[in-house]
Amino acid sequence: CEEEAVCVIMCASVKYNIRGPALIPRMKTKHRIYYITLFSIVLLGLIATGMFQFWPHSIESSNDWNVEKRSVRDVPVVRLPADSPIPERGDLSCRMHTCFDVYRCGFNPKNKIKVYIYALKKYVDDFGVPVSNTISREYNELLTAISDSDYYTDDINRACLFVPSIDVLNQNTLRIKETAQALAQLARWDRGTNHLLFNMLPGGPPDYNTALDVPRDRALLAGGGFSTWTYRQGYDVSIPVYSPLSAEVDLPEKGPGPRRYFLLSSQVGLHPEYREDIEALQVKHGESVLVLDKCTNLSEGVLSVRKRCHKHQVFDYPQVLQEATFCVVLRGARLGQAVLSDVLQAGCVPVVIADSYILPFSEVLDWKRASVVVPEEKMSDVYSILQSIPQRQIEEMQRQARWFWEAYFQSIKAIALATLQIINDRIYPYAAISYEEWNDPPAVKWGSVSNPLFLPLIPPQSQGFTAIVLTYDRVESLFRVITEVSKVPSLSKLLVVWNNQNKNPPEDSLWPKIRVPLKVVRTAENKLSNRFFPYDEIETEAVLAIDDDIIMLTSDELQFGYEVWREFPDRLVGYPGRLHLWDHEMNKWKYESEWTNEVSMVLTGAAFYHKYFNYLYTYKMPGDIKNWVDAHMNCEDIAMNFLVANVTGKAVIKVTPRKKFKCPECTAIDGLSLDQTHMVERSECINKFASVFGTMPLKVVEHRADPVLYKDDFPEKLKSFPNIGSL
């Protein structure tokens, strides 16, 4: 509208000019010349401005015609001469390393491929007859989804994957040879390298090939309905056939469990031979099998697509699918059937009877968890095969089926993005999405614990452990701890974390002389989390965190603690144990340090653990827990207990009998006694952490670890760890 405004002004000034002569003769000649010059300048200026306003705009707007809304009918027309080149047929031996130019994907910093979409054109042959429908609704949605995603780039030079806007979703709507010619004249076609075609309905009568018949050379094909003969493993992507009912019908998720029909066949127009087989099942098993067909006597105005009939009974489709536990998905002329999507949406377990069919996204999806595949020749045994599946497994499959639909079938967008993700994972395998992420429903993902130290392994004793002493300024006590700890045979290094910025650590000569290396680390800030920092100096896997006032542990006790850690390297192994309790009156968690029969935490004032947990504590602690601990100068040990229990799903191990510890809880704040407020604060910590973790990860156990012969009637001198439990 800017242009229009300019035009009005210009037209007005032109009018003025026309009236000019009537006005000007009355003036003096000098003036007249003056005025005329002035006017002409203004006029020229205005014209120039107007031109300027118009020209560049018209150029640009042809450039970015696609930001505005346009009609599909107005796209440029491209005439394909009859003798323009045709690509070769698809190369069946193509693999990523032979047919895909991965160099184009080399400069993507975030391990994400970049996808370019060609502009939409309308292709006609020499006689002006269109090659195909310009674009279908679904293909438009698909390209929109790609364009809205992170994969999209509008820079053809930076793109790694090219998606033609030539719609080949359905082979029946296009002319094969001419479509191929259209592909071949794309700007970066280059034998189809790095081009991705989406096709859901391949083949045509009479033989219905299982892959798109359009010659496409090296282009990747995302196809619905591949068979093992046409699918190029690791190159093509098998995609679902989209069902429009996914968008039209809202089927709320139905909980798993037994349903009215055990087996349902809802497909219309089955081949008579198959229908016979399935109807035989119905005769044999009666009510639990339901076979539906097209309705013949529907009244006018009823959508026949949404109705199915059994004899004279009419059922709503796809709602009826929710009434069945298993639903048959039988091959038609094509292997890929849209009904698979409807069945999954209904949470019905698909029974896929289509020999050699490559199930959608089978490269990443574990279909064994969501479907039953039955060979065609075993069709008569379907019922007994299904009956042998335990109920529990059926329920899991029902949940899984629905989840697959929600994540990968629901919309064209879901299909497009999953396809690109699969290709992306092939190119950047080190950043690929894991099996669990692809296959586990969200509930399972959140609920499952995967222990980072899952390999059962007892580390060799020779490795020893690194003792980390956190200290502020209690030098005398610190030195005693160092001397005591240095007597432990398996100690391999001692690290003092000097947390006092106002005071220098004592001079080297003053430190106790011990047999292992002693390192002092100075910290930048007096923070409790410094104790759990993954210092480069830690060379052993085992870490002993010990406070600078824990002098009551004997060498036997510490050595035994290390031995216990070796048997449980994925757990916190500590000396003083603590418990969390549910306070029914206050309705919240409570911290307990009394003599109890149970343990759920150990204090890190003296505890062994794997150094990996230092990394987790420092970099992966959820929420604001780390800052909270540093701000409150308390509860770092509780936070560590939460972290380890949450990530491993395992309980702590308390070692050796209870001892009188000198207020082990008040390490940081000197002088604060074990009083009520302290306990209250630690209870607060538990409640705070439980809310951040969203769960209570701590596990309660009733055992502690002692040496095998502890307190047994056995000669003391023959025991490995005699000096345990002495006060």
């Binding site: 899952f454 390999l455 392994l457 060379e539 343990v599 070692v655 055992h703 009637d713």
Partner: protein
């Protein structure tokens, strides 16, 4: 009038000027600064005005026509599982495998393979009853190639085992036979039909095999980031800070001294870079796996072993060789969590499927069995997490969320079943039954009557159901998976054991924390006997132990299934003949699964004994006398390695013997002297 005209003229003029300046100025400004690209909104796919009017890709009229296709005849050219394997033969008792006898002299590897199949539960001697017929394609060394066997039947239900890539010119058409081949090329491999095997070195052990070399979970600090294979054999390491091209030797001048080192054996490195082309790569791959060095495979042209079931993305990195720079950068930036997980997975996979010929062959058969089983096959989780699918029979509860005892999912009702074996004494163990039934966790008691005497007609009244199973004569019957056992936890007892309710309660609570392990009261330990050059074991009380006696132990009922269905028959016979052996055997079995020691809990009677009785008195310590070294050595030979691990700890109640009022203690009777 004049002035009015002039005024209006002036007004018009100045207005025009103003306009000119405004519009022109802007235009001039734009003209002056055009090279700076305007921040363009990313132009995407256009939003068509008539998008809603577009036609759907599938016209509804197409559907009926789509369906009218007759059943397809089996495809000629190539094979897949559905069309070329007849599962109906496997209907009866699952996968039964017949192996064609070798015609002439056989190689060492061949012999090992035969032995491992014959020792498996899949083996059958009749080709008619077999569902899979296995043909060993001989290796090149013997110089002989197999001829077409008798029951060939166009290769249907046949598996041709080739340990070396195509050693023989094909003397016969494969027909419909499957091929299990070491590192097959990706082009010839038929996914879902053929089986990809690892490349086995000649010296690969038959059983057991060397365990993984990983000694600790996380890489040692300062260890080399990369080990690179050398073409002449051997390895070379490159530090983390070396330049970006350490593999091709062209920038050899760059790294300073000590930057790269040459090694014959696999060095200690986090990643092992293996090029995918040449055939040695496959053996390098196994080498790296064993060493816990994360294999980084560059565009392998061969199929990774057992790729049908093993999720290799969890243990190795398969990258495109053309993006080497990116790969190296990605390795350097890989998070400790990822490295930790990959490293551990290499070890798990090595130990579970690759360390011996037997494991490789059994895995091959399990893969095929899983195809036959269809829905009741091992789920991916079981294949890819410890202890692996070979240790988790699919005949046991299939596809529980996590069917293995390792998992801590909600099993059972938090109760146990007591299994009391009544042997020679023939007396109903009434006292023991009372003690066990007194436990709040006890769900049922099963008495296995293994005595010539008739069953006593009267048993004590107990709060829990008591079942007597008669006729269990063999010792191995003790570990049969009786269908009457309804709980996951089993307390295995001997009629002569004596336990208190408190002990049972505490041990069960401990077992709940360690459901994959055995939790027992009495222990023994194994040792290497230098004098005899073999293993021995003793029940003497020492500072450590590696076995718990099954006369009083908790364990998961899953081990009954494993004991009965997965142990070689010879071992069960051994246990039947020498009953003292059964303890050792059971401990071997559990340790082979868990790779961890059992757990000991306090046993009051033991302390008494030690105080009052002569050690080794026959009455108090039944079965402990005279441990038979033959037994442990035979079992160790059958397992191929020593799975037992020692423990130095005992789990006691938290307040055990603590100087605190007995009233506070939950398991106070454990402390009675």
């Amino acid at each position: 009038m004049q002035s009015w005209r002039r005024k209006s003229l002036w007004l018009a003029l100045s207005a025009s000027w103003l306009l000119l300046v405004l519009l022109g100025g802007f235009s001039l400004l734009r003209l002056a600064l055009p090279p700076r690209p305007r921040p363009r909104a990313p132009q995407g796919w256009p939003r068509w005005l008539d998008a809603d009017l577009l036609q759907s890709f599938s016209q509804s009229g197409e559907l009926p026509e789509d369906a009218a296709q007759p059943p397809r005849a089996p495809h000629g050219g190539s094979c897949n599982w559905g069309s070329c394997f007849d599962t109906s033969k496997c209907r009866g008792d699952g996968l039964k495998v017949f192996v064609y006898p070798a015609a002439g002299p056989i190689s060492e590897t061949h012999r090992k393979i035969l032995a491992s199949i014959e020792g498996s539960r899949f083996h059958t001697l009749s080709p008619a009853g077999a569902c899979l017929l296995l043909l060993l394609s001989l290796d090149a060394q013997t110089g002989e190639c197999s001829s077409m066997p008798l029951q060939w039947n166009r290769g249907r239900n046949h598996l041709v085992l080739r340990l070396h890539p195509a050693p023989c010119p094909r003397t016969f058409q494969l027909g419909q036979a499957m091929v299990a081949e070491a590192s097959p090329t990706v082009d010839s491999f038929r996914a879902g039909f053929d089986v990809a095997l690892p490349f086995l070195p000649e010296a690969h052990p038959l059983r057991g095999g060397a365990p993984g070399q990983l000694r600790q979970h996380s890489p040692q600090p300062g260890v080399a980031l990369l080990a690179l294979e050398e073409e002449r054999g051997g390895w070379r390491t490159a530090g983390t800070n070396s330049s970006a091209c350490p593999w091709d030797g062209r920038c050899e001048q760059d790294p300073g001294p000590g930057q790269t080192q040459r090694w014959e054996m696999l060095p200690n490195a986090t990643f092992c870079l293996i090029s995918g082309h040449h055939p040695q790569a496959a053996s390098r791959f196994l080498q790296a796996l064993q060493a816990g060095c994360i294999p980084v495979l560059l565009s392998p042209r061969w199929e990774l072993p057992f790729s049908e079931v093993i999720d290799w993305t969890k243990a190795a990195i398969v990258a495109d060789e053309r993006l080497l720079l990116q790969v190296l950068a990605a390795l350097q930036e890989m998070s400790p969590a990822q490295v930790l997980a990959l490293r551990q997975q290499t070890q798990f996979l090595w130990d579970a499927y690759f360390s011996s010929v037997e494991k490789v062959i059994h895995t091959t058969l399990e893969v095929i069995q899983d195809r036959i089983f269809g829905t009741s096959a091992h789920p991916s989780l079981l294949w890819n997490s410890p202890p692996g699918a070979l240790m988790a029979l699919s005949t046991f509860s299939t596809r529980l969320p996590q069917p293995h005892p390792e998992s801590h999912s909600a099993w059972g009702s938090g109760r146990f079943s007591a299994l009391i074996w009544v042997g020679a004494s023939g007396q109903p163990p009434l006292k023991l039954i009372q003690a066990v039934a007194g436990s709040q966790h006890c769900a049922q008691i099963l008495v296995l009557w293994s005595n010539e005497r008739p069953l006593p007609s009267r048993w004590t009244e107990t709060a829990v159901p008591l079942t007597v199973i008669d006729g269990c004569r063999k010792v191995s019957d003790r570990f049969f998976p009786y269908s009457t056992i309804r709980t996951d936890a089993i307390l295995s007892l001997d009629a002569r054991s004596s336990l208190s309710t408190s002990e049972v309660d505490f041990a069960f609570v401990v077992w709940q924390s360690f459901p994959e392990r055995m939790v027992g009261f009495l222990t023994s330990s194994h040792f290497w006997d230098e004098a005899h050059g073999g293993w021995g074991y003793t029940a003497k009380r020492t500072n450590e132990f590696s076995m718990v006696l099954t006369m009083a132990a908790f364990y998961h009922r899953y081990y009954h299934t494993l004991f009965t269905h997965s142990l070689p028959k010879a071992l069960r016979t051994l246990a039947d003949e020498a009953p003292t052996c059964v303890d050792v055997l059971m401990n071997f079995l559990v340790a082979a699964v868990t790779k961890l020691p059992p757990i000991k809990v306090p046993y009051a009677k033991q302390r008494q004994e030690a105080a009052s009785l002569v050690p080794g008195g026959p009455e108090t310590r039944p079965k402990l006398q005279a441990p038979d070294p033959n037994c442990i050595n035979q079992i160790a030979a059958a397992f191929g390695h020593m799975p037992l691990r020692s423990s130095r700890l005992r789990l006691d109640p938290v307040l055990f013997k603590d100087p605190v009022s007995v009233q506070r203690k939950k398991y106070r009777s454990l402390e009675k002297p």
